[in-house]
Amino acid sequence: MAERKQYKIIGQRGTLRRYGWTKAAGTAIYTRDVRRPGMLFAKAMRNPYGHARIKSMDTSKAEAYPGVRGILRYDDPEIVNSGHAEILMNESWHEGGPVGCIIAADTIQIAEEAVKLVEVEWEVLPFYLDMEETLDPGATVLYPNHFPESNEYFSWLAAFMGGDELIRAEPDLDAGFAEADIIIEDDIEYKKGYHAGSEPRSYVFEWGADGKELNVWSHSQTPSTEGPMAQGDKLLIPRMLGIPSANYKLHGTFQGGTFGGKISLEHIFVAVAMLARKVCAPLSFLQSRSDEQGREDAGLRAHLKIGVKNDGTITAIHLDPAIVEVGDGGVEGEAFIWAVVGGAKPADMIRELLKTTNIETDSKLAMTSKVCATSFRCEKNQSGYIHTKINQLVATKLGIDPVKVAEKNVHVAPESKSFEEVIKAGKEAIGWDSKWHKDGEKTLPNGKKHGMGFTYAHMWHAGGGASQFGSFGCHMDFDGSVTISSATSDVGVAAHTTYIMIAAEELGVTVDKIHYPITNTDIFAAKSPGGSYGCAANAPLVQMVAQQVKQKALAKFAPLFEVASGDELDMADNMVFVKANPSNTKPVAELCNKLGCGAFPIVGAIDATIGPGAQEVPYNCFQAHFCEVEVDPETGKVDVTNAVCVNDFGQMIRPESCEGQMYGGYYMGLGPNLMEENIYDAATGCRLNDNLCDYKYALMNDTAMPTCIAKEVTLDEGVYGNVGAGEPTGTITRGLINTAVCNALGINLNTNPVLPQDVLKALGKA
């Protein structure tokens, strides 16, 4: 564990977000803004049924439509002879899936009209929307090419991610339940939610250099080559197209929020690249909101059995069964499969968080006729929901304060004061001790039921603590300015600003001396660009390259100070000084000027590095979340009137960014509590709310604005004692409002979101 230090830049407020001005001014160019000379626009045909196969397809009318410049069909030789016929198929396993053909035209409107002119004779096939129906032994097998026996999903990654690596001791359920005074049983459900990242997914492909170089502008969380846990565009697209990875030229664009929804490479993007080659023109593939809105995280239904003592001590937990819905599992639509990560480990959170080790899960992964499920901000949503509900169920059953249940059961590292500090701060901020009451006991003068909600968790690294695989470059130029190069893209977490602050701290220069282009995968490709592999994983790499440059620069400056080596020098605030005589100091820029252009650039680089293990030690830093609701028993409407979020970040790098993840996570966590739900038509398998009018997520006035309290209590395992900020904040709050509504009504609601009709139903009014 790192020692707490006082830094000049790290942890200090006031460093403005790099590219913030560009974003506010609207001059930030995202993939959807890219326009190239002669560019055409592509549109894919979409499956109108829950599951269907093309029996015959006539594209002649579309081909004749004015402005259409090319069509790629599933039975074209480019596809059939590519060795990757899966790129464009004649079958789609869910409504809205790309199928059959892609059309390139002068404008997006022409492409859309032309798609409507394609005449198809469909063979409509069986589909399943429900995770339990699909596992029925009599169910039609949906994906016989991959799973010929049943619709239960399995993969090595699922086994790994859902495995036993977090089990601290062998569970003994019988002993645990024997020790209990009370057995609580309940069924809970976590419904799938849509990531709804702000920028619909899009790609632009342009072939250059004698048709051998593929220029790409992409909205993707994995534009680079990635590591063992994921495979990115630069690895997969060239492989499927049969070109060298070196010829895959990525042009950096700003990235709209992704939240895990753009982590898998979908086959259709490779087909668009093929069509771009066929039409000999730059080709833009702008998906509509409907096109991408099938993407969800994993759903979950579980039967919970909890053993608990009368004082609130949990002695055993059995999830039997825990069914996780993974959609099509990615087997027919994705070049790399992330489904398994989303929800494949439903006991994850409670294994990490609770003292009891008597925890077992009998889980099954169910494949349905929906898009591959991928993690949504984090893969712990489902297990976090289970954890939150377990704490609430125990408190409800025993009629005790849920915070006391947490205090009884939480597993904390021996020397960490984090848990008690975040609880204390949160309780004070919301006035918990004066406001909490037993379930259903408080009706407000306005006739509404009053409820208090609570949940807690540890903070996790999201990608590893001490080090991870990855690569960064850093160089100092002849005027002392510094450039950082990496595949990192900023999906909103201010990655560039954060890494600039780290580099500035390590180099001893001010942040304005450092430039950081938005994305570079030419040589620094082997790194995840954002998403889970964030600051905790990248901080040591930035630290290393910055230290390399500093060491090399000081060695070159040494003769100018007439000292024997760079070891006798140091840098701070853009000044170089002799350690033994700090008054002997010169500006970096002046020294660089004296060295002359021939001495530059001074380069530091970290090639792909596997760090010394990314073992998470998830018991140092904690978070606690509190809320207050009013529930109208006449309408069922739930109003969140107060919310407090407390997170211990160990050591913040950029405090404003940490806070941004707190309120941002709160709003994202709120949605699955109150309003977000993908709705399907049971008769047709079609999505009914595949747009942002009918799929609701939180607007500014939908809830009370949260009070966010960022703490630095206990250092964690990051190189600066830092811990992940993005995932923990938005993950654990997904059951928070549910607990408050249960407290208000005195009735256990076992689903989310808690819609007005659910409240009225619970009250016997609907």
């Binding site: 974003k23 609207g26 702000s198 909101r289 942002l692 607007l699």
Partner: protein, 254 residues
């Protein structure tokens, strides 16, 4: 925000750097009068540049001449109005491809653009004229606010408006506010109002229209004004102090 960052952000230069081409049919190109009887006459457009007292600035005056009576007008809108009143039924103003022409004032610059009847204002501003700030989160449902521009003083969802309905409109985008150093831009940076940033320009233009309408808005005014703008990153709390500060710096003047 350093001056270095602000410099070089002229829209055209940025688009050039980003590999973007401004497309379209009639930026600065000829405008014609298509008479009903079939004749087509080019409208005389006189551009005069005049040196002002400083050596670095010039003043540009554009005059549009009526093909019937040679009267001169300061804007295409004025010429159109004149033709509709004085020469009704004689024909329409078109571009060289025969498309109807709308005249727009965007960020204090005049545009005369040939349009297709099905184009939305969002498509015209973003895809044809290259205003990258006009985003499309909901892709045409009017659900998100990312395509908001200030149109004739009101925050407008440009994906919900036909370009053909906007003839003569005065439009402001985030690029224009940034160019004119409107305090909202710096306030948005100061309060970290953006994360991924895709929705940010839509918030900025919505807030601009609010400040124009209510020079000293309250927190509730701001919440009400911004209540229709979606931000999936959840930046909502930060917009309140940013707009309050910007409003105080504007001091009520537009």
């Amino acid at each position: 925000m350093s001056e270095e960052t602000k410099k070089g952000l002229s829209r055209r230069q940025f688009l050039k750097d980003a590999g973007i081409v401004v497309g379209g049919t009639a930026i600065g190109s000829s405008i014609f009068f298509a008479a009903c009887k079939g004749d087509t006459t080019e409208i005389t457009k006189t551009v005069t540049k005049t040196d002002t007292t400083t050596k670095t600035e010039t003043k540009t005056t554009t005059k549009y001449q009526c093909p019937f009576d040679n009267q001169e007008f300061d804007s295409l809108s004025a010429l159109k109005a004149h033709m509709e009143s004085a020469h009704a039924g004689e024909g329409t103003i078109v571009d060289s491809a025969g498309n109807d022409v709308v005249s727009l004032t965007i960020n204090n610059e005049e545009y005369a653009v040939g349009i297709q009847p099905e184009w939305s204002l969002q498509y015209l501003l973003h895809d044809i004229l290259g205003f990258a700030s006009i985003k499309d989160m909901c892709t045409g449902y009017g659900a998100c606010g990312t395509c908001t521009a200030v149109v004739d003083g009101r925050p407008a969802l440009t994906c919900m408006m036909l370009a053909s309905e906007c003839d003569g409109a005065v439009i402001e985008t985030a690029e224009g506010l940034a160019r004119d150093n409107h305090p909202l831009i710096d306030a948005y940076v100061k309060y970290d109002c953006m994360q991924c940033g895709f929705c940010t320009p839509g918030f900025v233009t919505t807030a601009k229209a609010l400040i124009d309408r209510i020079p000293n808005p309250t927190e509730d005014d701001i919440k009400e004004a911004l209540a229709g703008n979606l931000c999936r990153c959840g930046t909502y709390p930060q917009h309140i102090p940013a707009v309050l500060e910007a409003a105080s710096k504007v001091g009520g003047s537009k």
